[in-house]
C-alpha cells in the first residue's frame, strides 16, 4: 500500500515540479508571486484540445496509439505547439499587464493584478469550453502491474520520463548556453547584469517562455493522466507555491525536489488524515517552510 502511495506521489509530484519551475523563476527573476501561473497550465491543456480538434479536421487526429501508451506521435507535436501558444499567451500578458504595472506601481500591485488575471483566464475557459470535464481520448487504458503490487498507467511512466528529459535540458541550458548564464546573472543582480551588457528585456522574455512551456507540458500531462477541467490549474496553485517556496525561489532543482516532495506528502498524508483534507497539506508545508527555513531548501538567505 505504501509503495502505491509513493508511486502516485512521484507521478503527481512530477506535474507539480514542471509547473513549479516557471513559478520559481518568476518569483526570483521577475520578483513577484504570480498567482496566474497556474492558469498557464490550464490554458496549455486546453490549447491541446484545440490542437487535436484541428488535427482531426486535417486528418490524423489523435493518431494511432504507440503501444503501450494511449497516444501516438500527434501528442508530441501537440506538446510543442501548446508550449509555443502558452508562451505567446504569457508574453502577451507580460506586455499588456505585468510590464506596465512594473513601471508604474510596486511589485505587490503586480501580485494583485496576477490575481485578477487568474480569475479572467479561468472564467474565460469556462465560457469557451463549459464547466464539464473533458478528455483527450475516450480510449481505456489498462494499468501495468509493477513489482510490489504497484499499479501505474503507461502514460504516467511517460510523464515521469518526460519530466526527467525537460529537467536535464533546462540544466544544460542554464549552465552551458550564454542565454542561460545571463539568466542566472539577472537573477543574482539585475543592475550588475545590465551594466555587464546583458539585455535584461530579452532575458525576461526567456523566463516567460521557459515557465509557460513547462506549465503547458504539465497541463497537457495532467489532462492526459487525470482529466481536463477549467479548475485544473487553480487546484494546483497551492501545491505549486509550496514546491517553489520549499525549493527556494529561482532554483531549478529546488523546484523539482519541492514538487516531488509536495506530491509525496500529499499522497502519503492520506495514511494519517482523511482524504478530503489532502488539499490542505501544501498549505501546512508552506507554513512549516516559512517558519523554519523561509529561504527554502536551496535558496539563499537574504
Amino acid at each position: 500500500m505504501i509503495l502505491q502511495h509513493i508511486a502516485d506521489g512521484l507521478l503527481s509530484g512530477a506535474i507539480v515540479a514542471l509547473g513549479a519551475i516557471g513559478l520559481s523563476f518568476t518569483m526570483k527573476i521577475l520578483r513577484f508571486a504570480n498567482f496566474s501561473h497556474s492558469e498557464l497550465l490550464t490554458w496549455g491543456a486546453y490549447f491541446a484540445v484545440i490542437f487535436f480538434a484541428v488535427a482531426a479536421v486535417i486528418g490524423g487526429g489523435y493518431g494511432t496509439p504507440i503501444a503501450p501508451f494511449s497516444f501516438g506521435w500527434p501528442l508530441l507535436a501537440a506538446l510543442l505547439v501548446t508550449a509555443a501558444l502558452t508562451s505567446l499567451l504569457a508574453i502577451a500578458l507580460h506586455h499588456l499587464v505585468f510590464a506596465r504595472l512594473n513601471r508604474m506601481a510596486g511589485h505587490m500591485t503586480m501580485v494583485f493584478a496576477s490575481f485578477g488575471v487568474a480569475l479572467l483566464l479561468r472564467h474565460l475557459l469556462v465560457l469557451i469550453f463549459g464547466p464539464a470535464p473533458l478528455y483527450y481520448s475516450s480510449a481505456l487504458q489498462f494499468a501495468m502491474l509493477l513489482p510490489g503490487g504497484v499499479r501505474v498507467m503507461p502514460d504516467q511512466v511517460f510523464l515521469l520520463g518526460l519530466t526527467v528529459v525537460v529537467v536535464i535540458a533546462l540544466h544544460l541550458f542554464l549552465t552551458r548556453s550564454r542565454t542561460g548564464i545571463s539568466m542566472r546573472a539577472v537573477a543574482e543582480n539585475p543592475d550588475l547584469a545590465r551594466v555587464s551588457g546583458v539585455d535584461v528585456g530579452r532575458i525576461v522574455m526567456w523566463v516567460w517562455i521557459i515557465g509557460a512551456s513547462c506549465a503547458a507540458v504539465a497541463g497537457v500531462m495532467y489532462g492526459l493522466t487525470v482529466q481536463l477541467r477549467p479548475e485544473l490549474g487553480f487546484s494546483l496553485l497551492l501545491p505549486l507555491f509550496a514546491a517553489a517556496i520549499l525549493g527556494g525561489a529561482g532554483s531549478l532543482y529546488g523546484a523539482v525536489i519541492g514538487g516531488l516532495a509536495v506530491g509525496l506528502s500529499e499522497n502519503l498524508s492520506v495514511m494519517i488524515i482523511p482524504t478530503t483534507y489532502k488539499p490542505a497539506v501544501p498549505f501546512l508545508m508552506i507554513l512549516l517552510v516559512l517558519y523554519f527555513r523561509p529561504e527554502g531548501l536551496f535558496g539563499e538567505r537574504r
Binding site: 508571486a33 506601481a105 479572467l120 517556496i245 490542505a280 516559512l290 537574504r302
Partner: protein, 315 residues
Amino acid sequence: MIGLVAYLVFFLIVALIFAVAVLGLNLQWGFTGLFNAGVAGFLAIGAYTMAILTGPSREAVLGGYELPFAVGLLGAMLASGFAALVIGLITLRLRDEFLAVATFGIAVTIQLVCVNWEYVTGGTLGLISIPNPSRALADGPFAQNLIYLALVAVLAGLVFVGLERIVGAPWGRVLKAVREDETAAASLGKNPVRVRLEAFVLGCMLMGLSGALYVGFIGYVSPFDFLPIVTFQIWTMLIVGGSANNRGAILGALIVWAVWTGSGFVISKLVPPSVQAQSGAMQAVLIGLILVVTLLFRPRGLIGEKIAVSRHARD
C-alpha cells in the same frame, strides 16, 4: 414602487456588510501595504463562529449556545483575529509575497474544513435558522429589513469613524511610514513587524464582523458562500473605490456590488438557463476586467488617497 424600495433596502444591507470587510482590507492593504489574499477565509471564520454561538442547538453538531447577537459579533471578531494572529506571526517578518501565499492557503484550507468537518460546520448543508435580531422587533420582512439596515449602517458607521480616527492618529502615520519605507520607519525606532501584525489582526477582525453580520442577516451559513471569488469581489471594491481612503472603500463596495448584481440580472435575462454556469463565469470575467483595467488606467481608484503633508512642512 414598494418593491423597488424593498429591493434597495436589501441591496444596501448586503453592500454595507461588504463595506465593513472592505474597510478591514483597506486598513491592511491601503494603509499598511499588506496583501491579504484570503479575505473569504476570514469572513468564513466570522460567519461560522456567529452561527455556532447564536444558533439553535441541533443533534450531532457543535454549538447551539443561543447566545445574544452582540456576543456572536464579538466572538466572530475574536476568532478571525486569532486566526490572523497565527498567520501573521509566521509570515509578517518575511517577504511581502509570502503573506499573500499564506493567506490564500488559509482561505482554501478554511473552505475545506467548512465542507468536511461536519461536527462543527454542518458540512455541505451548512447551518440553518440562525436568529436575526430584527425578527423580534417588527412584523413583516420590510420593517425587519429596515431595522437590520439601521443596525448594519450604525455598525459600518462606527467602523468608519473609528478607522478615520486611528489612521489620522500617530498610529496611522506609523502604518503609512511602514508601507512607504520600512527601513526608514525602523530607523526612527518603530517596530515594523509589530505594527504590521496589529494592522493585519485588526483588519481581519473587521472581516470576521462582516461575515457574522452576513449570517445574522440571511439566517444560514453555507461553505459555498466563501469561495475565492468573494476575495476577488472585496478586493475589486477596494481598488475601484480607492485604496487608502475609507470613503473610497465604502463607495467601492456600493458600486461594485451594484455592478455585480446588475450584471447578474441582465445576464440572467439574456442567457438561456441551459448555460447558467457560463453566466456566472461572465460575471467573474467582468469583475476581473474591471479590476485589471482600474489598476492600469486609474490606479488611485475613484477617490484615492489624500496627500497628507505635515503641518510643520507647510511653508
